[in-house]
Amino acid sequence: MSENTSLNLQRDKGNSLGLGGIVKKILFDNMVTILFVVLCIFGIYFSGQSLAFITGELITRIARNAFLVLSLIIPVLAGMGLNFGIVIGAMAGQIAIIAVTHWKITGIAGFLLCILISTPLAILFGYFTGRLLNKTKGQEMIASMILGFFANGLYQLLFLFFIGTIIPMKNPTLVLSGGIGIKNTIDLSGGIKYAVDGLYRMPLSLALLIISLILIVINIYKYLETKKIKRKDNEKYLFSVGASILLLILSIALMVFRTSFMFIKVPFVTILVIVAICIFNVFIVKTKLGQDFRTVGQDMHVANVSGINVDKIRVTAIIISTVLAAWGQLIFLQNIGTLNTYGSHEQVGMFAIAALLIGGASVTKATNSQAIIGIILFHTLFIVSPLAGKNLLGSAQIGEYFRVFVAYGVIGVSLGLHAFKQQIEAKNKFKSQ
């Protein structure tokens, strides 16, 4: 019997690694992200693009996509894996856009109306998605993916055949010439294009300055907070302060040395909204609801026994995610400026999930910073790979296919690794009992 304790002690000792061990562990845990950092650096080098161009593109893409990626975090928290069902949220957003475009309400008013219309739709869709996922516990991801395809069928049915027949609509700019069905592409310029982005654009250097200052304040506050309760893992905040100061210096340098970077503008309000959603994701964890998400996510059985209504919590998580996805799609489209009625939403889930995973998230763990890092890396690759492919292999197409492969591949590998880990853990659990 006493052998057990000594075994346990030994195991604990095994966990406290030396410095080399820690570095190894960090490298291993962030393998995917590091691999992509290397890939991006290669890509940037071989694409021959200027850093300023890439940065400009990147900022547009971050502003465009971040919200969608961030909408994935809560279902992961609740143990439901990567919500491929955000496609359905995106559809809710597009339904709203088509309605608002039809009513010719433009600008920020139009955008807000879109939010107003898409939210109840997304809540409804999210509710049904959640109900379905409760029926397919353990297979949530495949179920949400197939559900996305299924919903896409219904969506097409609605816009291709119901408009003009069951739903009367006379609008030659939206409806196909035959009078039935919505056109393939809808131009949003003069509508809600840049409704949010265009509110206020700030020079990059100024934006960086503000962000770095905010980061410094937050991290110092957190450091002091954790120091008060004697937590030992607070060095990371000091590290962040250091990094933010570097950023601050960079922003000042950008202002002083007038490079091509000074032409880059940041859509300030959009970024603000993204920051707000980040704060929301952090905030929710610290509430009762968030604690329930975490409990359900870690162990449904224990949650059930301790009186938490597991099914309801899971539905709530999916509803939140779906609503955020609908808003995310609105932000995405107001930036793109054209709605591809039957295509804009299709790849939304896949690209958002790939970005999140590249940032180092997994099926069971995802954070804001992983989402942001993931978006930066994934979209850098997107920007540079066609040109890098052309310069390196003589074919831009190779680069294009490569980035598609990367998106699918990273999801595949990540899912595979997760399943493999689960299998090992199940075995270990057997042994330790």
Binding site: L132, N134, K135, T136, K137, G138, Q139, M141, I142, A143, M145, I146, L147, F149, F150, N152, G153, L154, Q156, L157, L160, F161, T165, L176, G178, I180, G181, M300, L393, G394, S395, Q397, I398, Y401, F402, V404, F405, A407, Y408, G409, I411, G412, L415, G416, H418, A419, F420, Q422, Q423
Partner: protein, 347 residues
């Protein structure tokens, strides 16, 4: 009596009933609209034969316990390689078809072996992983098609790099099986060779399921703990099932292409797995159990539905592709239904 009815409905499944009823409804509509019934039946038969082997590929996967093999594109890609090589060798007719099959079988066997090993490492999440293995394989092969060293002008783009997106088989072996011993009665053309090929594949599979290895495989899929207690090597049986599924995927696409008349490269195979999955489910299979009869019935129903729906839909709504939308809803709906039955959900 109502209880018995209820039981029967539960056993068949509501979605299946809806689909069958819908099919019958479409058939009646087709008659009322005065559509050419003979050619519709002929088309249905051809499409059943051409998709049949791909659907059959689901059976060993389901029975060995990996569930619905969404990774079918892996086999399809192997079949495409075999098919392209047979063209590159400048063969024609049945000989070319046979060579394509013969080449693709070992390739897909090897690929299936490694795929099976991978799936053994991810037990419990096979369906999700296999979906993305399929997607990744297709997108990786997109690069592959760009760089593969084929020289035949039928395969390559005349200018620039890489292979054509569609490769015509007219001068090679388009419809060799369809036209083999085909005959027509009262306006209905029977693609005898094609159907015979499909049925022979079914027969071989049926025989395999009654062999020692086949019985072991079924036991593994049904209850892996039982199987290992009976001295059966669970992982090996699962690999055999996965290999068979991949091989049938390869053979299936060649049979499909000869009837279709083209090989489609690049993104085309991406979603083909889903159609096959849907067909076998419509036939009455589940993620845990499938029979040859499910394959035959399911393929016929699903393809029949699509064949009849197209002209009927075109008569009603002239614009847009209603039949395609219908396909999306039906196939994904039935897969969703099957998924809700996997975990039981009631835990």
């Amino acid at each position: 009596m109502p209880k018995k009815l209820q039981e029967t409905i539960n056993r068949i499944g509501i979605p299946r009933l809806i689909i069958t009823a819908f099919f019958i409804f479409l058939c009646i509509l087709a008659v009322l609209l005065g559509l050419p019934i003979g050619s519709l039946i002929s088309d249905t038969l051809v499409r059943t034969g051409m998709n049949g082997v791909l659907v059959l590929a689901m059976v060993p996967g389901i029975l060995c316990g990996i569930g619905l093999n969404f990774g079918l594109p892996l086999g399809i890609v192997c079949g495409l390689i075999g098919g392209l090589i047979s063209i590159e060798m400048n063969l024609t007719g049945l000989k070319a078809f046979s060579v394509a099959v013969l080449i693709s079988v070992p390739i897909s066997a090897v690929v299936g072996y490694f795929y099976g090993m991978l799936l053994n490492k991810v037990k419990g999440s096979e369906m999700m992983v296999s979906t993305y293995v399929g997607f990744s394989a297709v997108s990786l092969m997109c690069i592959g098609w760009l760089v593969m060293p084929f020289n035949s002008p039928e395969i390559k783009w005349p200018i620039g790099k890489g292979l054509r997106t569609t490769i015509t088989l007219t001068s090679r072996y388009a419809k060799v099986l369809d036209n083999l011993f085909s005959f027509s009665i009262g306006g209905i053309v029977f693609p005898t060779g094609l159907l015979a090929f499909f049925l022979i594949c079914c027969f071989i599979m049926w025989r395999f399921l009654r062999s020692r290895a086949g019985i072991a495989m079924k036991a593994v899929g049904d209850n892996p703990v039982f199987a290992s207690a009976s001295g059966i090597n669970v992982n090996k049986s699962r690999i055999i099932g996965t290999m068979l599924s991949t091989i049938l995927g390869a053979v299936g696409i060649i049979a499909y292409a000869q009837s279709f008349g083209f090989y489609q490269l690049y993104q085309a195979p991406m979603m083909m797995g889903f159609a096959a999955v849907a067909a076998v489910l419509i036939g009455g299979a589940s993620a845990k159990n499938a029979k040859i009869s499910h394959v035959i019935l399911g393929t016929f129903l699903f393809q029949g539905l699509l064949t009849v729906a197209l002209p009927v839909a075109n008569k009603i709504v002239t614009e847009g592709n209603l039949a395609e939308v219908l396909r999306i809803i039906v196939s994904n709906g039935i897969i969703l239904y099957a998924l809700t039955k996997v975990g039981g959900g009631g835990e």
